[in-house]
């Protein structure tokens, strides 16, 4: 078989002050800050920046602008803390809610085309979980640009980066993080176009690689969301925090997982089971379909498990027919479009089959509120290394993220990451590169495409996604998770022996997808271990064998460290400043 062309060649070396991995909302805002500060920065992304998954976000971005009715950042902060089932670090939530206002205004000034009120200000609408006066009733807090807020954020930030002449390395797949002697040294990237390895030496590195939803079979996440940044850190001895908290969105298109926004239920859509019942009355008699995401997802799962899914299968109906043509076409155009295109269902006359879909990782690389990566329970910072966006865990989302708060997270902590990196670069320089820093990962990549025979990694990925969906999804049990531990270990072992079919150098996506599977396996391992240990139910983490929240033992963050024979777990306290934990009722 063909041997990698690069096998004996030395890699291309680039010198920068700062390197950003990922060009979604978080990475781009950080890049902008660094450009403004005059720091020589490289932005590496495995996709063209405008194709990052931030562009898929529809709902909006919350900020207590109070353009339409009274609102205060304290209220926003409270909603965030409560939504996160009190696992939120409140110093982070405070920053989030306060700075959301400045960031949204700054976005407008950068040119983001927000919808406008009749008097020309940014328009705002209601969104799940965002309330007036500490829970009294819904408030109009979500700023939006039609049904493509994320798209506009991504475009606007990329445009500003072009204006500020940010240096992009598009379609460079980062394959290793260089950390040496407790210092950040840069990254190793694989240039997709020709398969060359490039070493980027830099004092400061930002991991902004987004989520890892592809661990699950049914997900709203892009095929490319494979937890790269999380796994890169994990492999370098950095813990992953709160990985057991993974949000399932109740209404995804069956099989595909494509998201049908919360707006459908907000406008009054019903959820129906096989017998045509609005089954939510059994689970949340007061709020019905508008109960929080974690609760609704669980209810759907309960129905399908009890055999009341449509035709006994694993989905139920979302029914908007009674809303009438006008409401549907005016207010739910995206839903109607997706349903028509991807299911061939006409929502005006037919109910839409839906099922919960893996959506958002609350956990990730632990950071402080300056987006600096912290490696233990005492707040020890790893100098130079930063993380932001979905890949990071500040933790502002706690055990369950509120709708729209992810975009806020990108803006607020993406910017903070950029500032903190600029600050760091003023005093620190990149350490000398260890000789052949790229060798381990080169060996790994070469093995994947040159070892004699090996299993098709795609089968391993399919099995992983199915297993995670079954035993680490909306419902979890000790037994299921215990089953999953050896299962994942087995998949990892099989992965060590896998081989891709494409041995070439040019645009080898076969190789990269296999490499991404390695990232997913690491994320899954940490997720399962954390979930197995946490014997309580909180937010998105629901243990059937421990259905209650247990603040006495479990009001703490999980840290999962990579170790021989499975992750080692540690814990750190939750920062509580203003809001003492209370039972979470809506």
């Amino acid at each position: 078989m063909m041997v990698s062309r690069g096998a004996t060649r030395s890699p291309v070396i680039h010198e920068f002050e700062a390197v950003i991995v990922g060009a979604g909302g978080a990475g781009l805002w950080a890049a902008l800050e660094l450009a403004r500060a005059g720091v020589r920065t490289a932005v590496l992304t495995k996709l063209y920046p405008t194709r990052s998954h931030t562009g898929a976000a529809q709902g909006g971005v919350c900020a207590a602008l109070g353009n339409l009715e009274e609102d205060h950042w304290e209220w926003h902060m409270f909603d965030t803390v409560k939504g996160g089932d009190y696992l939120v670090d409140q110093d982070g939530a405070e920053v989030l809610a306060q700075e959301a206002i400045e960031r949204v205004i700054e976005l407008e000034q950068m040119g983001l085309p927000f919808n406008r009120t009749p008097d020309g200000r940014i328009d705002q609408r209601r969104f799940g979980g965002h309330t007036r006066n500490f829970g009294e009733g819904p408030v109009r807090r979500s700023c939006f640009a039609a049904d493509r807020t994320g798209h506009m954020i991504l475009q606007t930030l990329y445009q500003q980066c072009i204006k500020h002449e940010v240096t992009f390395f598009d379609e460079y797949h980062v394959v290793d993080l260089l950390v040496d002697d407790g210092l950040t040294g840069g990254v190793v990237a694989y240039r997709i176009a020709d398969g060359e390895l490039h070493v980027f030496r830099a004092a400061a590195v930002l991991l902004a690689t987004g989520g890892n939803g592809r661990m699950f079979r049914v997900t709203s996440n892009a095929h490319t969301l494979t937890g790269d940044g999380m796994a890169l850190a994990y492999r370098r001895g950095i813990p992953l925090q709160d990985m057991e908290f993974y949000q399932f969105h109740p209404t995804g298109i069956v099989g595909l997982g494509i998201l049908l926004s919360e707006a459908a239920r907000g406008e009054g859509g019903y959820l129906l089971n096989d017998q045509g019942e609005r089954f939510m009355e059994r689970y949340a008699p007061r709020l019905m379909e508008l109960a929080p995401r974690d609760l609704v997802s669980r209810a759907i799962y309960m129905e399908t498990r009890a055999g009341r899914g449509i035709g006994g299968q694993d989905f139920v109906y979302l029914d908007v027919r009674h809303l009438g043509r006008e409401v549907i076409e005016a207010k739910l155009p995206d839903i109607t479009d997706f349903a028509r295109i991807y299911q061939g269902v006409e929502p005006l006359t037919q109910p839409v089959p839906i099922q919960p879909t893996a959506h958002y990782a609350m956990g990730g690389v632990p950071t402080d509120i300056e987006a600096r990566v912290v490696v233990d329970d005492r707040g020890t910072v790893l100098p130079g290394l930063h993380a932001a966006g979905e890949a990071a865990c500040v933790s502002v989302h706690g055990a369950n993220r509120l709708g729209t708060n992810s975009l806020v997270d990108l803006l607020v902590f993406g910017r903070r990451a950029g500032r903190s990196m600029a600050e760091y670069c003023r005093s620190a320089a990149a350490p000398e590169l260890v000789a052949n820093a790229h060798e381990p990962v080169r060996a790994e990549l070469d093995a994947l495409r040159t070892r004699g025979v090996g299993e098709n990694p795609n089968h391993i990925r399919a099995e992983l996604a199915a297993a995670m969906m079954d035993d680490c999804g909306v419902f979890r049990t000790g037994d299921g998770l215990r089953r999953l531990v050896p299962r994942i270990r087995e998949l990892k072992e099989r992965y060590e022996r896998a081989r891709v079919q494409d041995a070439g150098s040019i645009f080898n996506t076969d190789l990269l997808e296999a490499h991404e599977l390695g990232y997913l396996l690491d994320c899954a391992e940490a997720t399962v271990a954390s979930a197995l240990a946490r014997e309580e139910s909180r937010g998105a983490h629901f243990r059937e064998d421990h259905p209650e929240r247990d603040d006495g033992d479990w009001l703490k963050h999980t840290l999962a460290y990579r170790a021989e024979g499975g992750p080692r777990l540690a814990y750190k306290p939750v920062t509580i400043t203003r809001f003492e934990p209370k039972p979470r009722t809506y």
Partner: protein
């Protein structure tokens, strides 16, 4: 049902020229071309190469020539195409491998129209005001996901690769008609060049191809009209 999927393949490391490869793939009617490509890649031939990410028509990665038209593989269903499906890379751009084309020039053209808000006035403390009508003026062209389906469907572009192309004009339009922007004049100068809007011959392939339903030809003609207006 079984679909006869033909893919125009080319691997510069192995092939001297592109060739049609045929695959028999099992498919449900509601599945999309992207699903078929994945099935081939994951089950039959891992060397089949294409770009994709979001899988629901919002990232712009997987525009390709499907049954003779540019579309997103993730947004076109098998039942809309029939049992014989042919897939080729976007026309008019250099092929890197199989369905992957070189997008550098496409993005360079996008950048050439200065696609960012320019407004040097001192910033107000709050948001700038913009009426809903002024906002609506450029709404259509904010939808672009830079998939390149339009530019590579344009006969003018096929003929002259130097043509800046509909996608870049769409993105210039988005700023030219934004009441907050101050560099409209500059963008119009760029587009009044010989490789700018004048190469458009109102063919409408771009508009037909746009997966976001943008009325691209209208945007182009509005830019043309704006240039003419300023000069006369």
């Amino acid at each position: 049902m079984q679909v006869d999927l033909r893919v125009l393949r080319y691997d510069p490391e192995r092939d001297s020229k592109p060739y049609w490869a045929e695959y028999l793939v099992e498919s449900g009617p509601m599945e999309r071309v992207l699903d078929l490509l994945h099935r081939v890649k994951w089950e039959q031939d891992g060397t089949l190469t294409f770009r994709r990410s979001c899988a629901h028509g919002v990232c712009g990665s997987d525009a390709m020539l499907i049954n003779g038209r540019n579309r997103l593989a993730c947004k076109i269903r098998v039942d809309q195409l029939g049992r014989r499906i042919s897939v080729a890379p976007l026309p008019g751009l250099p092929v890197v491998k199989d369905l992957v084309v070189d997008m550098e020039d496409f993005f360079a053209k996008y950048r050439s129209v200065r696609p960012y808000l320019v407004n040097e006035a001192p910033l107000p403390a709050r948001e700038r005001l913009q009426s809903p009508q002024a906002r609506a003026r450029y709404d259509d062209t904010t939808k672009c996901i830079l998939c390149a389906a339009c530019t590579t469907s344009c006969p003018s572009f096929w003929a002259q690769k130097s043509y800046v192309g509909p996608a870049a004009i769409v993105n210039a339009h988005r700023f030219v008609f934004d009441s907050r922007d101050e560099a409209a004049q500059e963008r119009l100068e760029i587009l009044a060049d010989k490789d700018g809007v004048w190469r458009c011959r109102t063919v409408f392939n771009c508009t037909d191809a746009c997966p976001r339903g943008i009325n691209i030809t209208q945007a182009i003609l509005e830019v043309s009209a704006a240039i003419v207006e300023r000069r006369i």
